[in-house]
Amino acid sequence: MEYVIEMNNITKEFGNFKALDDVTFKVKKGEVHALLGENGAGKSTLMSVLFGLYQAEKGEIKINGEAVKINNPNDANALSIGMVHQHFKLVHNFTVLESIVLGKETIKRGFLKMDDARKKVMDLSNRYNLRIDPDAYISDITVGMQQRVEILKMLYRDNDMLIFDEPTAVLTPQEIEELMKIMKHLVDEGKSIIFISHKLNEIKEVANRCSVLRKGKYIGTVDVETTSKEEMSEMMVGRKINFHLDKIEVKPGETVLEVKNLTIRSKLSKKDVVNNVSFKARKGEILCVAGIDGNGQSELVYGITGLMPINNGQIILNGEDITKKSIRKRSVAGMSHIPEDRHKHGLVLDYNLQQNAVLQTYFEPRFQNHGFIKFGAVRQYAQKLIGQYDIRSGQGEDSIVRDMSGGNQQKVIIARELDRNPEVVVAVQPTRGLDVGATEYIHKQLIAQRDAGKAVLLVSLELDEVMDVSDRIVVMYEGEIVADLNPKEITVQELGLYMAGSKRSVNNEKEA
């Protein structure tokens, strides 16, 4: 009984599209098994089949050597399989405790009996060092805690086989580190883990073996220790990936975007989530705003782009004060925005690709004439973007965006925002959840913008990205800018200290 999980010759179709084509995937007991593949390769789909969310058209699943049918998550659960989904499955107005017990409630005569559950959850929380507040509402807790809730959900169900679908995409470096520890701890206890990630460093650190999918097909399984990152990524995309970003030196030019004493007060907590922040972004420079999630970066961007009203301060774009200007005016004045939440802000999911391609430009004369849309021009433009940015989807420019894979959805946004020839690009986590190929591509695009003399304001939680791409780094901590750094002069460790608030080099001068 070598394998705890065996998925043999799995084929899964969506309509006529083969998301999985004869995939074989085997996990040994007590290992962390990484699953690697480009966006849309079928990783989540494969795991959903294992977890009973989807039924495969062909193939068989063996758990502990026995052939099983997994028709729904209950079956999976009964087989001791648990899953942390790529997009968390938590109810926003449930408490942490309710979220964990949902589906496996302890009851007495039909009534909920939370006390036992609470005890068990708190025990688990302590044992695995998964810190949570059982009575907090999901909508009020950080993404990191949400993830811990998801993990506790699995543990609460006494699952032995744990699936983590891109758990690190939304975590801060510290949280990632913590998660790695937890995973090792879990494996030490004899549990088996499937770990999906696009980040080869993480796979290198935590995984024992790694299986690779490409376009729905199984490519192979390798031993992580003996395989280099380059080899793995080549397996994944079918070509060599250049991990080193070629960046020519560019001398920053004049200031494009200036933020002066920006303050934003939270409506809920009445706290200054952005506190007297000032900085300048110059032509030919990628300025990165680093920081742990929840330190005011999102609000800062909302304030700059106009999605949130600000309480104090000034925003100046190319010498023009845009503080009170509408979103549209800012956009026309040359501000591009790659938003953090692509589903909420970036795309009208029920519009097709063409319609989304002109979301920021539909009113320009090239796309409309006296208020009438020039459909031919829009189509051509969408086709151009598809070609240029390698956007893949079922029906080309007519695809409804909702049906597209996350990576390709992101590409639509990137294409749209960069192709507008902006003065400044405000990019928030532009590569979140993207595979290495796509990430590389987007980084290159951002650098190209900078080389073309644009200013890029990059907000990222990923230290690698911060260090590799940016020309200058400002670090935000509790709403304030605590450091203004040159990436060539600091180490990742140092940066981490600034982010954690244990070091600061810029003082917050209220009067300035």
Partner: protein
């Protein structure tokens, strides 16, 4: 061959087929009811229903157009709001206030020259309906109040207010209704009364068709429509794109209200001897508008045909009284047709699957 596939694939066509299926199902159901209540005449009665407006020569057709006009307008109102993500259940109140202002202007502003009078009265109806739609719009945009509930409230406020105003201004106490509207405010016949054997046929239907085309163009061809639909699908993404979503919510409701208000004006200025009565009943045209919009799949052109169709079989339903069936059967049939509209998704997916398979096979072969 290619052409045919494109045709089948196009959303419009598969919607059309599913509507036809729904209609067939509804009629079958109606037939069963006819059989149950009196099997002897069931068949000729069914034929009469299907023939609908074609039964009585031009007079039947005229009747269809007359009946269809107001429900096309309220249908358009509801359907337009649907397209922009709002559920305008308040078409009834907008219809009533529009009708009142039209009738009021018709009766009181007799100083207007006759070529202008009716136009001003209809404009009044449009404005009144727009205002009535604006209230839910503003409350939704600025205070986050669900438009369904405000529309329901506005329906009742509308009916009571209009009743009060009628009694204060243009009341005929002998008949508990408004006074009659002078000829100058009646919508012109445009020669239609000669084409159709209905005394009071007028160009209202053309005004409705014009509104349909206008809304169709606005929604599908203009940037304004693009914005409105974007707000309907995703307010947050629209906001991100610099679209003023609050303004658009208000505008959507204003336009929806204006359409329903115009419907009220068109009906009560039709010169058909229709009077606004002082009675505490919500105008049924508003709720029929929901049916029309759903049957027309919120597509303006679809709504036009849905309105005509419902009027058509209602005329048929009226005629089956001669076979001793009660006209309620028609409501049952329409209900079933709308219900079967729910199957359209199923049907559409089926067509989609079939055509896609063909397409893929073809592509593979290439």
């Amino acid at each position: 061959m290619k052409k045919k596939h494109n045709l089948l694939q196009s959303k419009g066509t598969s919607s059309f087929f599913s509507v036809i299926m729904a209609i067939v199902a509804g009629l079958l159901f109606g037939f069963v009811i006819l059989l149950i209540s009196n099997y002897k005449n069931a068949f000729p009665a069914l034929i009469t229903i299907i023939k609908g407006g074609f039964t009585n020569g031009t007079s039947g057709l005229g009747q269809v157009l007359y009946m269809a006009t107001p429900i096309i307008m309220t249908g358009l109102s509801v359907g337009f709001a649907f397209k922009t993500g709002l559920f305008n259940i308040g078409a009834s109140g907008q219809f009533t206030t529009g009708a009142f202002v039209a009738v009021y202007i018709g009766i009181k502003w007799t100083f207007l020259p006759s070529g202008i009078h009716w136009i001003v009265a209809l404009l009044g109806a449009i404005i009144a309906g727009a205002l009535w739609g604006m209230v839910p719009g503003i409350l939704k945009a600025l205070a986050n109040v669900n438009e369904v509930i405000t529309s329901i409230m506005m329906n009742y406020i509308g009916i009571y207010l209009v009743n009060m105003l009628i009694v204060k201004s243009i009341y005929d106490p002998l008949k508990n209704q408004t006074e009659s509207v002078p000829k100058s405010a009646i919508i012109p016949r445009g020669g239609l009364e000669q084409l159709f054997d209905v005394k009071n046929m007028n160009i209202g239907i053309f005004i409705a068709i014009f509104a349909v085309i206008l809304i169709y163009i606005v929604l599908s061809k203009t940037t304004f429509g693009y914005e409105l639909k974007a707000c309907g699908h995703s307010p947050s993404a629209s906001q991100y794109a610099g679209i003023n979503d609050k303004r658009n919510i208000i505008l959507s409701m204003v336009i929806a209200g204006a359409l329903a208000g115009l419907g009220g004006g068109l009906l009560y200025l039709s010169g058909s001897g229709k009077y606004m009565q002082v009675i505490d009943i919500l105008a049924p045209e508003g709720f029929n508008g929901i049916s029309v919009a759903l049957l027309g799949m919120s597509n303006p052109i679809g709504i036009l045909f849905a309105g005509l169709f419902i009027a058509h079989i209602k005329v048929g339903g009226n005629n089956i009284q001669l076979y001793n069936y009660s006209a309620e059967i028609i409501d049952i049939i329409i209900a079933v047709i709308i219900y079967c509209g729910a199957f359209s998704l199923l049907f559409k997916n089926l067509i989609h699957k079939l055509t896609r398979r063909n397409k893929l096979e073809k592509e593979e072969g290439r």
